[in-house]
Subunit: 356 residues, 2 copies
Amino acid sequence: MARDRRIEELFGIDLPIIQAPMAGAQASAMAIAVANAGGLGSLPAALLTHEQMRTELAIIRQQTGKPVNVNFFCHTPPEPDATREAGWRTRLGPYYAEFDIDPAAPIPSSNRAPFDEAFCAIVEEYRPEVVSFHFGLPNAALVDRVKATGARVLSSATTVAEARWLEARGCDAIIAQGNEAGGHRGIFLTEAIGSQPGLFALLPQVADAVKVPVIAAGGIADGRGIAAAFALGASAVQVGTAYLFTPEAKITPMHRAALKSATDDGTALTNLFTGRPARGLMNRVMREVGPISADAPAFPTAGGALMPLKAKAEAAGSADFSNLWSGQAAALGREMGAGELTTALWADAKARLGEA
Amino acid sequence: MARDRRIEELFGIDLPIIQAPMAGAQASAMAIAVANAGGLGSLPAALLTHEQMRTELAIIRQQTGKPVNVNFFCHTPPEPDATREAGWRTRLGPYYAEFDIDPAAPIPSSNRAPFDEAFCAIVEEYRPEVVSFHFGLPNAALVDRVKATGARVLSSATTVAEARWLEARGCDAIIAQGNEAGGHRGIFLTEAIGSQPGLFALLPQVADAVKVPVIAAGGIADGRGIAAAFALGASAVQVGTAYLFTPEAKITPMHRAALKSATDDGTALTNLFTGRPARGLMNRVMREVGPISADAPAFPTAGGALMPLKAKAEAAGSADFSNLWSGQAAALGREMGAGELTTALWADAKARLGEA
């Protein structure tokens, strides 16, 4: 059967591979390398200030003429909750004592910022060809402004219900994020993480439920996964963890080492680092406090109290308190440049898909 | 690329589709229908007495000349634990009161029996072409006796480590059971169910780790899933939940109705019904007591105390206390005969795989 090429046409890209936006792990360099190789490079905005965002976008526009994706979180920042914060610090108290950190010292605030008017103005200025959101969509007025720039709008669905919700609100394509995926679950209509479907089950059901093209995400790290995603109804794939093996990934040597020795069953969903469930490689704090803890404050504030522990532990060469985001297929990762990886992934997939 | 045909050759079957053995949900009729359609039909032994087993095998041998698979659980029965049993009955006490059941009445014992000398003698007598195990393997002496009959031996791996363990102990093929699968997880080297990989991640990693052919299971319910499984490195697929939609499935009308309205995110892993994690459609007891409860006694005894509740609720038309086993792709199920389904699945998959 002829392969669905709707995503290549919709985004104006050469290969149906999207580099997953990975906040905190990459910036313009990775997006540029992927774009120049013909895939869709992505710039994650969640951990950038508005000024950093402009700088990164300016670099991208300077270094590639290809389409690019800019990704935003669209959570509602929580009301401060001093009681919950205090409870969380009490829960982490023994670790503060172990690392000789003053438990009364002010803790850094987590700076994951949602999409807002100011970010929207930057989109209107730089006009990225694709804008993707995580945790649903911003309000309709902001979505309308983004669409008015000509940008294609995407968001992630972790269930069929979320896919239908996103399609009804105007998404041009939907990312079906299987439970295998690393980093934050896009989940937004429910909190039932124990019922999240794996990509094998999710993808064909999403493809049956919506008319817009579907992008498969979660556990895809080589040509086999890309070919399988197309068999299940995808029009493109989004690959994350595999790009963490590239030199363009801005991750710690400890994170890189942990990825290189990752196993299929070495990750879990955890809410300790931000307050929302995200998949990472299991480490000490996940084993001892979670991986899911009811004590963790609301997204994105939970991570603040962990930061001093993370800093002290990392300085001592330990990733015991670090968020080591990873999907379940990290063991398939290969070390090469992000552009080279994009080319290699598609060459392998193409052969399997029977394309010339 | 030419498709891997090792499983068809190894088992002497026409189509690389294995009907998953589903204890309590089917017997010889389904196995015969699938075998006669060219797939591998399976007879689950876990809930049968030795005498029932002989009867079912005699019927199979009478009604088909095709190869058949017989499946056994191989857990070690637990020591009786009166304290834990009492705690479990206390936990369920409010439900006993609600349904006006005498909390002091003796509870039925759960009769899931492991593979033993007597079952092995039946294998030696009827010589099924394939013998599959769940929860690892029986002791080496019993495995040797089974292999001496000429039977091909299979078991399920939920992780790469389990796959390697099974290959090292002589399995002729390995079922890679993704987290999407319905019914009992085959998990046996760990209890960390939160880290179980989805099929998309598990399958290529198992295929890379072992030399024997790999059978994909979990979330496969149509030709798309079969084609995707081959793309990821499978030599065959095992399909379970889709066969629960056939008239050969011996499930309650309530279970059948629940499957017909299943959604992608409507299941969870639960240990309430047997003591081991198994995937089923969410219902009242799973929501209120679990889905995972540390109070549930060891496998297979947990279900005993639920049986009176299940009986009373079902008599009143409710599946609130019933085990409604289902994988995450139940919504892809179609109502047709088990033989017809086997033929339809392969016809669809063949077209997608580009075979004549």
